[in-house]
């Protein structure tokens, strides 16, 4: 029982409560204490009541009645207060835990976040915290109550009569024994039922997903037959579970009836032979619940806790993960006034395959630079390095003449306005989303940025204008609208360096024109690094870098590169020729 259980993990889970831990433990003990005292006193009340009734003793009866009323009043006053405080402590602890997790996840490096599905991380905040909540609210609660109520009852019982008490303890242990004995097989078959259920669900989902195939090909009978087999498996496992379950129910019935009527039977003979009085028997019968409760819950606690411990381990894995550093150690490359300067920059995501190999280029302030190349050539990686999402594995990088190591990541990102490939918007109003570019911007600032981004017209056409809610991830807006809001956000940011990652690739021709115009405005007076698939959109760049396999293979202006008749001109010719076919 104890082998499966590790105490350090348990204490770690408890320490997740932080400041609420003591509030929680104290109120928990209070609740359990009040309940146990109530139940144990009830035994003594019943003892007096019955002895009083049998002997006609008025005094015993009165004391029983007074005790009853006092206990009831105390229970009615104290237990609600303790429970309220307990609830507050749990709510506070869990809310703080969720926020701690969220803050930690925010601070994790991009490499960590890109390796894991965002659903996994949110599941730590929802499912894993819920499983810890189960432990705080129920498992631990039941354990403490079992200890208080159980040991209290056992002691009280032995005070009343040790011989009958021994019988109760034996019955309690037997009940615990059978419950744990059945627990393993029951869990096993429960898992089988779950697997069969999900198997069946998969088939059902496929019937829905492949519904047209079902109609077009003559396969309904075949598919239904397979579904029927999966369904049959669920039924079979369930019946096996029911068989075990009903055996356990039967055994538990026997044990509980023995500890109720059995005590009366033995007690009656003892009373008849004058060895004991009936009040004592009644007292012990009242206490037997507590003993059974102790054995049952003590056994269940360890199994129930496993899920919560697994959850708390996942939470700790996140809390202990390394956060993004304050700054990187990459040294500088230029003493001049280049806005961006790369010297021999290397980068690898996994430490083996080099995505960038000795990349070098300079971009002067106000220049528009374009990165061109097939997918996998390292264009997006350059943008990610400039944003400080990853640390270069080798080489030098300077921004505005200062080495990368001289910037904290926050300062670095303050230099940059970024328009991603797919404009990610947060649920909220259009205005809120644009204001993310500069949180202290006034409404007029926002409107100015929006006008420059060619977005004023469509926003004004909406019934709620700037207060229109964009929906989760901006789904209520079209791709072109989202992109223009992302551009307005970048304009409002008013940062010296602009990074564009294929900002127009997801758009149809009409909205692309509007977005391109907006981008022209945005690029004015800023150093720009742009990635583009459609060469048409970057013909006017001051300098074009052609990347292949992490290296620069050509550079120059559009016209220079065409004359070179290399990679760029080949790409250009293909696109041009295609448009004429």
């Amino acid at each position: 029982m104890f082998k499966k259980w590790n105490f350090p993990e348990f204490f770690r889970m408890m320490s997740l409560m932080q400041r609420q831990l003591w509030n929680y433990l104290i109120t928990l003990c209070l609740i359990a204490g009040i309940y146990s005292a109530h139940m144990i006193l009830l035994a003594f009340i019943n003892e007096r009541l019955l002895n009083g009734a049998i002997s006609g003793d008025q005094e015993l009866l009165t004391s029983a009645i007074v005790l009853t009323c006092v206990v009831l009043v105390l229970a009615c006053i104290t237990s609600p207060i303790a429970m309220y405080l307990f609830d507050l402590a749990v709510h506070r602890a869990l809310t703080h835990l969720k926020l701690r997790l969220f803050k930690k996840i925010q601070d994790l490096p991009v490499s960590y976040l890109e390796k894991r599905h965002s659903g996994d991380l949110i599941s730590a905040i929802t499912n894993d915290v819920n499983s810890v909540e189960q432990a705080y609210r129920y498992h631990l609660y039941l354990l403490v109550e079992a200890i208080f109520y159980g040991t209290g009852s056992t002691i009280a019982m032995f005070v009343l009569d040790w011989r009958l008490s021994m019988l109760m303890v034996v019955l309690g242990m037997a009940s615990a024994y059978f419950t744990t004995k059945y627990a393993g097989p029951l869990r096993e078959i429960g898992d089988k039922v779950q697997t069969a259920m999900s198997d069946m669900t998969v088939h059902w989902v496929d019937m829905v997903g492949g519904f047209r195939l079902l109609k077009v090909f003559k396969i309904s009978g075949f598919v239904l037959e397979r579904f029927g087999q999966k369904n049959e498996a669920i039924v079979a496992h369930n019946i096996e579970r029911i068989r075990l379950d009903s055996q356990l129910k039967g055994i538990n019935y026997l044990l509980s009836i023995f500890s109720l009527i059995g005590v009366f039977v033995v007690g009656s003979f003892m009373v008849a032979s004058g060895e004991i009085d009936f009040g004592t028997v009644m007292g012990i019968v009242t206490l037997q619940n507590g003993v059974a409760f102790l054995f049952l819950n003590f056994g269940n606690f360890f199994t129930n806790l496993q899920g919560s411990l697994a959850g708390s381990k996942r939470i700790y894995d996140i809390l202990n993960a390394e956060s993004e550093p304050d700054h990187y150690n990459t040294s500088g490359s230029s003493k001049g006034d280049e806005a961006i300067s790369l010297r021999g920059l290397d980068f690898s995501y996994d430490g083996r395959e080099k995505v960038l190999q000795g990349l070098s280029f300079d971009i002067r302030p106000g220049q528009v630079a374009a990165l061109v190349g097939p997918s996998g050539s390292g264009k997006s990686t350059v943008i990610k390095l400039l944003l400080g999402f990853y640390e270069p594995t080798g080489g030098n990088l300077s921004i505005n003449g200062r080495p990368l190591s001289a910037y904290t990541l926050e300062e670095l990102r303050d230099q940059i306005a970024y328009v991603p490939q797919e404009a990610f918007l947060f649920e909220g109003t259009i205005e809120e989303n644009i204001a993310h570019g500069r949180p202290d911007a006034t409404h007029d600032d926002v409107v100015r940025a929006v006008k420059l981004a060619n977005a004023h017209e469509f926003i004004s056409d909406m019934s709620q204008g700037y207060a229109t809610r964009v929906g989760e991830r901006g789904i209520r807006l079209s791709g072109g609208q989202r992109q223009r809001i992302a551009i307005a956000r970048a304009i409002l940011r008013d940062a010296p360096i602009l990074l564009l990652d294929e900002a127009t690739s997801a758009l149809d021709t009409a909205s692309e024109q509007l977005v391109l115009e907006a981008l022209q405005t945005l690029m004015k007076g800023r150093t720009t690094v742009a990635i583009a698939h459609r060469l048409k959109t970057i013909e006017h760049a001051d300098v074009i870098f052609v990347l292949e396999k992490g290296k620069i293979v050509e550079k120059g202006t559009h016209h220079e590169l065409l004359k070179q008749e290399g990679v760029y001109s080949r790409l250009h010719n293909i696109q041009f020729a295609e448009s004429l076919t």
Binding site: T68, V202, F211, K218, G250, V271, G437
Partner: protein, 584 residues
């Protein structure tokens, strides 16, 4: 009115559950009998305790021994009853619910495509998982309680009343008041808890978005405002939680009273009666024990009611599906003709009223010829396919297959005339061979190999370690989009139907394998009538006739050469798309 509709949904719930448990009448009767016996045993237990105490006090050892024998009989009966109660209930519940799932699956397969595709797939899935499980747990956990509880309550009240009716009345005097108060105080909790869970779900979704948008948060240094936003939502949820805690603690005294007051009143008045010699000690103990049993049953009532209510909802949703109209099964099959296999004559159709997707479309599909449908997304290409397969019916105009109107066709026979390779290449879990065989269940392995060769799938299947026996689908080997497409082409080839419909069938293939498949298809389409929907020039070029669709109309028609010379929509469309296709 509301009373009426309530009782009618209740009746419906019961009649649906009854329909599914009827085949297991034997087990149902066993469960009912067992629950009656269990109730009797519980009551007898209390009665025997009373007898024991009275006889022990009178020192009647002989009588006492008799009672012990009775106790033994009762224990055995109770054990058997409890065992069979759990077993029988579980058994018919499980079986009935299994039948329910099968019935749902059969009905699903008979529904029209339009209904299934308009429903959110999550809703359909929750029918067979959540709703069915809710019904199962109701049957196995609560249904016998509907018999057991009334028996216990009524006979206990009768027994207690016969022992001492005044004490019975006094004991329960305060219970209705307490129940009323508890109910009154608990009312706001329902709303508060839905507020709480709503706020929590909202907070979680804000947090989720914050995590998904992490790149933007970092790029714009938005950590602080984002955290503040999430914090605000979680605090809001927490305060809703506080409100519930407060309400529950207010409710607590009346709940304690509900449990304890009958016992307390019985202690006071019963103790007084006993001391005055008006009540035997055994009867007092019987009172105290039985009060507990009664209180436990009464306290369960609200739980039972709310459970029954949610099950009624689940049953309602399942009945809706079981009673949903199926696709028509009438009509007949017609023999294939030699020419003009499909005639589409002035067809107009829209998924919603007054919003036509296609209007006045006419064309003829002849044996050995290929027609290509071209147009931007939303121009109605796939809709024409849906109409051909009679997934939807045209609002105006007629579609003839083998010279007969679709309305006269039997749907199964009609769909046998088509081999379809659709945009989404869905594979069922199973082996590759299984998936190809879906085209023709009776095909032998050689035919499957033949079909996979036509589809250009044979070589890559051979290279897989387990070849045709490779498991695919949700839990199987992950195949590339191009490989899946070739498997579905093989499936269509195996079907050997006179009309071939290709909806972007080769879009995920690279140029080389597309050329292979194209060649094979060209041979294949010699004795078929073929309709293709495609973007790629290479696919469209080979068509005998190209229909350029624009907002549901056929704007231009002719061969590739003719349309390029026309210098119209097709020409323009063509240029745009080729530029997109080029991965630079």
């Amino acid at each position: 009115m509301t009373q009426n509709s309530k009782s009618s949904t209740l009746r419906k719930t019961i009649s649906v559950i009854y329909r599914f448990i009827r085949p297991y009448k034997g087990w149902v009767i066993t469960a009912l009998t067992a629950s009656v016996i269990a109730a009797i045993c519980d009551l007898t237990g209390v009665y025997l305790i009373k007898q024991m105490i009275d006889n022990a006090l009178a020192s009647e050892t002989q009588q006492l021994a008799m009672i012990v024998v009775l106790v033994a009989v009762m224990v055995v009966a109770g054990f058997v009853a409890n065992y069979f109660l759990t077993y029988a209930t579980g058994r018919f519940g499980t079986k009935a619910v299994g039948d329910m799932r099968n019935a749902l699956a059969v009905r699903l397969s008979e529904l029209p495509v339009s209904d299934v595709e308009n429903e959110r797939s999550g809703d359909l899935v929750s029918r067979v998982t959540n709703d069915v499980s809710a019904i199962q747990s109701f049957i196995s956990q609560h249904s016998t309680n509907l018999i057991y509880a009334p028996i216990i309550v009524v006979s206990a009240l009768i027994y207690l009343g016969s022992l001492n009716w005044k004490l019975t009345l006094v004991s329960f005097a305060a219970t209705p008041i307490m129940m009323y108060i508890a109910n009154l105080i608990s009312k706001p909790i329902q709303e508060q808890s839905s507020n709480y869970y709503g706020a929590l779900a909202e907070a979680n979704s804000v947090a989720q978005e914050g995590i998904a948008g992490n790149a933007i948060t970092k790029a714009f240094n938005l950590q602080k405002p984002m955290y503040a936003k999430v914090e605000g939502f979680y605090y809001k949820a927490m305060h809703h939680g506080f409100k519930i805690a407060k309400q529950e603690s207010l409710m607590r005294p009346s709940v304690v009273m509900m449990y304890e007051l009958p016992v307390v009143l019985c202690t006071i008045y019963g103790g007084y009666l006993a001391v005055s010699g008006l009540l035997a000690a055994g009867a007092l103990v019987a009172f105290l024990q039985m009060l507990r049993m009664l209180v436990i049953q009464t306290v369960q009532i609200p739980d039972l009611v709310s459970n029954a209510r949610s099950v009624a909802g689940a049953v309602g949703r399942i009945t809706d599906m079981l009673e949903a109209p199926t696709e028509r099964t009438n009509g007949r099959a017609f023999t294939p003709v030699e020419n003009a296999l499909v005639v589409i004559d002035d067809v107009t159709f829209g998924y919603e009223k007054d919003k036509n997707i296609i209007a006045g479309v006419s064309f003829t599909l002849t044996k050995g010829k290929t027609i290509a449908l071209v147009g931007s997304s939303g121009s109605g290409k796939s809709t024409i396919l849906n109409l051909l397969l009679s997934f939807y019916e045209p609002q105006k105009g007629a579609i003839l297959v083998h010279g007969h109107d679709l309305k006269d066709w039997n749907l199964k026979a009609l769909r046998d005339q088509f081999a379809v390779v659709s945009q989404d290449t869905f594979l069922f879990p199973g082996t590759i061979e299984d998936n190809i065989r879906l085209g023709n269940i009776e095909a032998d392995f050689n035919q499957i190999v033949e079909a996979s060769k036509i589809a250009g799938a044979y070589s890559f299947i051979q290279e897989l370690p387990e070849g045709f026996q490779t498991q695919v689908g949700e839990r199987g080997t992950v195949l590339s989009g191009g490989q899946k497409q070739r498997i579905s082409i093989a499936r269509a080839a195996l079907k050997k139907a006179p009309i071939l419909l290709l909806d972007e069938a080769t879009s995920a293939l690279d140029n080389e394998s597309e050329a292979q498949v194209q060649q094979a298809l060209e041979v294949f389409s010699k004795d078929h009538a073929t309709m293709v929907i495609a973007h790629r020039l290479s696919t469209i070029k080979m068509a005998d006739e190209i229909l350029m669709l624009d907002q549901g109309h056929i704007a231009e028609r002719g061969t590739h050469q003719e349309l390029m010379e026309l210098d119209g929509l097709y020409h323009q469309y063509h240029m745009e798309n080729e530029e997109d296709m080029q991965h630079v």
